[in-house]
Amino acid sequence: MILAQIRQLPAWARWASFATLGVLVLTLVQELGQNDTSHLTAMTTSQTALKWSIPILLAGLGGLFAERAGIINIGLEGMMVLGTWFGAWGAFNFGPYTGILIGIIGGAIGGLIHAIATVGFGVDHIISGVAINILGPFAARFLSSEIFTGYQGGSVTQSPRVENVDKFTMPFLAGGYDTPNFLKWLGDKDLPLISDIGNILRGVLTQTSWATIVALLLVPFSAWLLWRTRFGLRIRISGEDPWAGESQGVNIYRYKFVAVMISGGLAGFGGAFITIEMSSIYQEGGTTGRGFIGLAALIFGNWRPGGILAAALLFGYPYALQFGDFDGFASHALLLVNAIALFGVTIWAIRKSKHADAAIAFVLGALSAIWYFVADTVPDWWVKILPYVIVIVVLIFFAQRLRMPAANGQIYRRGQT
């Protein structure tokens, strides 16, 4: 019944409730464990988690624009790779801000190619996307061999170091600009739940890159653009029922083109973010499949900006936990978190009388719990694959509950139904 009440709250309060619930689970797990697992809700963890979520978020938003216009963009990964390269090139030559802009342009070029193939020529979206995923790294390789090898510290597979974007610390809450640090005070109190929330918020608000802030602002902006403007309506009609749009005189081709280029630009932003904000260097293979994780975030987020953000944070968290978790206790405790989450899914499935779901969730949850109790640590490879496992497990339960744009993936030709 609590859940039913939560559902009636406004969106922001609903999300806040779910987030609090999540932190509550993390707190509980800390209290239950014998080892010190404060790393789960440490300030550094939330700080890193946010950073790791941003490329996934941007790729997901990129996917959102394309798929809302009816074009499946599996080429996000390739566009992201272009973003990492162009971002590095731009940042090295003109500084980090221009670097991000050039990274966006690099990704948008990838988007343009995808749009020409799928919208212009009607090539199957997956085939074109796969081709771009192959072309992107190849192009980056060639460009590196031509350009980065001529720079000091650059080579065929990497660029010289580049600078970061400036950072921002929230005054009063996180002590930016020599103001009092309220959240630190709260975190040091060592109260259950409240101090955890304080630490997490402090991590998010301390030394936050302006690029991160812009990326986060893109979430409400995308929602506004797609659902509150005429431009967005026309993008969405291109993805729901382009023929209906055509009959209203909308130039569907143009909107699909623009949407896919925005999509590529956002993926490029994500790539540039990886280069400039995370690794400070372009490295071949540096995207490590995050374009695809972004695609999974798009699906899990049910093709909505808020959902994509939530999914990106969920997928980014296990990445972040690897850092600084030297004894492996926190990663180990995550098994219990997974178990609790899966038991939650079990209860949800029973209430919806989905017995197969309930059984699968219970078995997976039980396995996770057993593993937690019999082992003291988890092997390092488990931590590495955890984000991907979470993607699959999440899709196992939610793939059939989601609704993608009605004409997504269909090949649209003007004047033909």
């Binding site: 020409i116 193939a117 031509e146 490879w381 196992i396």
Partner: protein, 375 residues
């Protein structure tokens, strides 16, 4: 009618040839911008590629590419996108190498066992994606990509330490160069230099043509028979062309999805076998990227057994012959990556254009015939 056949062949070849020409021109522009002479670069590559030893290298490269292409094509035939060949073949290779090293059998059995294990592992791993799709509706593109990551950064990274020759090592070990225990001589697929030398002079420089080449040929023939001469192949194509009609015709799409997915993985399992035969073990630097290259080759060859072979040879030629560019310095060898990417993209667009042209042509022909009947 003779004219009609010629016309059809010309149409079928128009797209890939146009793509290669377009890619050559585009790459030349890139080369000119980079300050190299495209004619010297291409000339060097052709001169180098015309040597027998280099041709052996090209065939060695084309062999796994072809198998990988067929693996991808089996799924593509019914609009099922197995992006997971990359993870499937590497996982299959390490398990097959481990099993192969732990037994000692007569040569035929030993080799057969290794191939069988590889096919089983490949099929089982792709089967996971198939089961997820059939039972839970999880899109196979996403699941196979995730399974790739799980196999490569998880399972294989772990197994390669666990099965390290001379005992397992932990994550902090620095000397991971060795790989799994070596496979006995009897388990290694021999080279087939003598077969090739029937037609050519002796192969020099210690180059060996991999025996897996014959496996690839067999895979191609079986693929052709399966698709064109069996019930399964018919159902597969029917589902790919029109899933609703196929379902009405009594084809269980769930069974087809699972079958195609597993079969694709079974073939994928064979991709790493040439490398295993060459190295005699699985090592941490095991060849990668063949899965993604296979997808490209399958798209180039339009999922046709002969077409995939041409695609594999083309990519293998570019990969191998570009090695000379480093020596002569006439261009950077990475230009072939650009060429491959552009060829691929240009080809898929060109196929689409030709396909549209063909449909229009047929509609025109039909209307002419109908008009003739009416008159």
């Amino acid at each position: 009618m003779k004219n009609e056949t010629l016309r059809r062949i010309a149409l079928a070849l128009a797209a890939p040839i146009a793509a290669v020409i377009f890619a050559t021109i585009a790459s030349s522009v890139f080369l000119l911008i980079a300050g190299s002479n495209p004619f010297t670069a291409y000339g060097d590559m052709f001169e180098y590629g015309s040597r027998l030893e280099i041709q052996v290298d090209i065939l060695n490269r084309a062999t796994p590419l072809y198998i990988s292409g067929v693996a991808a094509a089996i799924g593509f035939r019914m609009n099922l996108f197995n992006i997971g060949v990359e993870g499937q073949y590497r996982l299959a290779a390490i398990v097959a190498a481990y099993v192969g090293a732990s037994v000692s059998l007569p040569a035929v059995l030993h080799i057969g066992l290794i191939l069988l294990v590889a096919m089983l592992v490949g099929g089982a791993y792709s089967g996971v994606a198939g089961v997820l799709k059939v039972t839970r509706g999880v899109n196979e593109v996403i699941s196979t990509i995730m399974l790739n990551a799980i196999a490569i950064s998880g399972l294989i990274a772990w197994l390669v330490r666990e099965w390290q020759a001379g005992g397992s090592v932990d994550a902090t070990a620095t000397n991971l160069g060795v790989g799994t225990e070596p496979i006995n001589e009897s388990g290694l697929i021999p080279n087939i230099n003598s077969w090739l030398e029937i037609f050519t002079r002796d192969i020099g420089k210690g180059k060996e043509l991999t025996g897996v080449f014959l496996v690839a040929v067999a895979v191609g023939i079986l693929y052709h028979i399966l698709i064109n001469r069996t019930r399964f192949g018919f159902d597969l194509r029917a589902t790919g062309i029109n899933p609703f009609a196929a379902r009405v015709g009594g084809v269980s799409d769930k069974r087809m999805v699972l079958g195609a997915m597993v079969l694709s993985g079974v073939v994928a399992g064979l991709v790493g076998m040439a490398e295993i035969a060459k190295l005699g073990r699985f090592n941490p630097n095991f060849v990668g990227g063949l899965g993604f290259a296979g997808i490209a080759v399958a798209l180039l060859g339009r999922n046709h057994p002969g077409g995939i072979a041409i695609g594999a040879l083309l990519f293998a030629f570019l990969d191998t012959a570009s090695g000379v560019l480093q020596v002569t310095g006439s261009a950077s060898r990475e230009i072939v990556f650009i060429m491959q990417g552009i060829i691929l993209l240009a080809a898929v667009i060109a196929y689409e254009v030709v396909q549209r042209f063909r449909i229009r042509e047929e509609a025109r022909l039909a209307s002419v015939l109908l008009a003739g009947e009416a008159g």
